[in-house]
């Protein structure tokens, strides 16, 4: 049957793409167990880098900060970006200026946004810390969320919104009950995208962080450590981050009784 062939083809595609995604990751995981410090030679299996990692307060603190920044900026930008996308798509006729402002965060070079925000914050005398990183990450994140949600809305059937309005539902209820559920896969995709961007972002975080230790994020810490190349300790950390994420997913699956939001 054609159906079965297509399904097999899909599995094959998934296999190839996932192999591509995970080949470097398996190298990274492998290196985290390499006894020697250089990535060039395998000198034996060891878990000592994990031990070293768990006593490295700087890295652990930075990992915690990164999580805080990513969670907050994702939450904020998902809400703002989704509302923006809905508003923009309902309006239909958006002027060039509006489109410009919505696209701009994606194309302004990172370093420009970073320096601009730092200059601006210091001009206003804003005390900097994790909160300034968060609000800065929201700037570009909301544009990405908005773009993903808009892609989903391009073929959206607005008549259901009107029907809901005709039945007397308030705008808010219509949004919550009608629009958001339909958009959920796009919103989740947007949120995942925002989280991924935020977790990895270095230059804007470096510039908008406070000067002290308290607002150092993981990418900042790792960039600074690059002087000595990537040490197995950092590979160990990357491995742990992924392992913890998988565990967190498994736990949330359980909490939700096997159902993920958006279904």
């Amino acid at each position: 049957m054609a159906e079965r062939h297509i399904f097999r083809l899909m599995l094959l595609i998934l296999g190839v793409v996932f192999a591509f995604l995970y080949i470097p990751i398996s190298v990274l995981v492998g290196l985290s167990f390499n006894d020697g410090g250089l990535p060039t030679a395998w000198t034996g299996f060891s878990t000592r880098w994990y031990g070293a990692l768990l006593t490295n307060d700087d890295i652990l603190k930075a990992a915690g900060n990164t999580l805080v920044v990513a969670l907050f900026s994702t939450a904020l930008s998902t809400v703002l970006g989704t509302l923006l996308a809905i508003g923009v798509e309902i309006r239909r006729r958006n002027g060039k200026w509006l489109e410009t402002i919505i696209f701009a965060p994606m194309i302004i070079p990172d370093i420009v946004l970073a320096i601009a925000l730092l200059s601006f914050f210091s001009l206003l005398g804003v005390k900097m810390g994790l909160h300034t990183i968060i609000v800065s990450h929201v700037v570009f994140n909301l544009a990405f969320v908005c773009a993903v949600v808009r892609a989903r809305l391009k073929n959206f059937d607005w008549s259901i919104v009107e029907a809901s309005g005709d039945l007397g539902a308030s705008t808010f209820t219509t949004l919550r009950r009608v629009v958001v559920p339909v958009l959920m896969p796009a919103i989740i995709a947007g949120a995942l995208l925002a989280f991924t961007l935020s977790v990895d972002e270095f230059i804007i975080a470096f510039f908008t962080a406070g000067a002290g230790r308290s607002s150092i994020t993981l990418p900042m810490q790792i960039f600074a450590m690059i002087r000595f190349g990537v040490t197995p300790e950092i590979n160990a950390l990357a491995t742990l981050v992924m392992a913890v994420s998988v565990v967190a997913l498994a736990l949330s699956q359980r909490l939700n009784k096997g159902e993920l939001p958006g279904q």
Binding site: F72, F121, L130, A211, R213, S214, I216, Q221, R227, F228
Partner: protein, 347 residues
């Protein structure tokens, strides 16, 4: 219900961490490169002086400069930067004019280190480490290089196995030195020659690299690289066949310095910190562990002789180093330098 509480508490903890309660007193904030001072230096400084200092890291001079200039230096107290960058900070009015009374250990510096051209008399910067830029190579795989041209016009079997530093000034310096020009040369005709030489050299390079070149030597991926002496020592530590040499045309004299920022709200502690680093014992630690020469006379005289045997460039005297020219801030010509590098990389 339980789940709800769990979620709430996670968010609350996160909120508190994010917007945190501001600390009462700001700690002394020192920004340095990773691994450029003792891991416990901050702790022992705190224990010894009763101050609260904390260390933050920057990966490059450029990065910390951007941040200091955009924020007018607010938040930082002591920063480690290379001398041309310290010069810029001084010219932009961001550095503190140093009161030597508050840094008694400054007397430990070699006489040569107090009269460096970028800051004679240490008016705004204190040298922390210094050295040369030369060639680091696998003596078991290539003939001993003697000239910058051995790097820029490599023999056929070395071609494709060389790297140059990626930072503008040092990249240009290799060409400037090879042609016998000053490392601060700004004459446009001479610099056009430098550019052409470096464009030709680029065709023979493996890569531009200023972080992992020593690892490339160890793995054999590269055989001859442009390197700062201290970083070459990391390679020598891994493989004794790796050697360092200064080509016959010479080198630059690089100096990494400590500056105190004018905007610092912790000046007393900042002075104490600089003084603490200049202590003979503390500074000797730096020499022995990061394998960089330090401009501190009693510190260097205490360095283990066997270390100098393993890493011969550690034994270079200040007098020998001072023969070389320091990279200076070239002011308006900086724009030309930047364009030259773009031209080299676009070709």
């Amino acid at each position: 219900m339980k789940r709800y509480q769990l979620h709430c508490s996670i968010w609350m903890t996160a909120t508190l961490t994010a917007f945190g309660m501001p600390a009462l007193a700001e700690p002394l904030t020192v920004s340095n490169w990773d691994g450029y001072m003792a891991a416990d230096a901050i702790d022992s400084f705190n224990a010894e002086t009763g101050h609260t200092a904390e260390l933050v890291l920057h990966a490059t001079n450029e990065e910390i400069m951007g941040k200091l200039i955009a924020s007018k230096g607010v938040g930082y107290d002591v920063v480690f930067v290379s001398s041309p960058f310290a010069e810029v900070l001084h010219n932009l009015g961001l550095t503190e004019d140093l009161d030597h009374e508050k840094i008694p250990n400054i007397a430990n510096l070699y006489a040569e280190a107090t009269e460096l051209p970028h800051d004679p008399g240490n008016a705004f910067s204190v040298p922390y480490a210094w050295g040369t830029t030369g060639l680091c190579y696998r003596s078991d795989l290539v003939d001993t290089p003697t000239s910058w041209n051995d790097l820029l016009k490599p023999a056929e079997d070395v071609s494709g196995k060389t790297t140059m530093l990626a930072t503008d000034r040092w990249l240009l310096a290799a060409g400037q030195l090879a042609l016998g020009y000053s490392v601060n040369e700004t004459d446009s005709e001479k610099m056009a020659e430098v550019r052409d030489l470096l464009i030709d050299a680029k065709g023979t390079l493996l890569a531009y690299d200023d972080t992992t070149f020593y690892a490339k030597l160890v793995s054999g991926e590269a055989e001859l690289v442009q390197a700062w002496d201290g970083w070459c020592n990391y390679g020598i530590g891994e493989n004794a066949d790796i050697k360092y040499t200064i080509p016959s045309e010479g080198s630059d004299l690089w100096v990494d310095t400590m500056v105190i920022l004018k905007a610092s709200g912790n000046k007393e502690a900042a002075y104490d910190f600089v003084n603490y680093i200049l202590d003979a014992e503390n500074h000797r630690w730096a020499a022995e562990n990061i394998l960089y020469k330090v401009p501190n006379e009693p510190a260097m005289s205490g360095v283990d002789a066997s270390l100098i045997e393993t890493f011969p460039n550690m034994g270079m005297s200040p007098e020998e180093m001072l023969k070389f020219e320091q990279l200076r801030d070239v002011g308006g010509a900086q724009r030309d330098y930047s364009r030259l590098v773009s031209e080299i990389k676009a070709n």
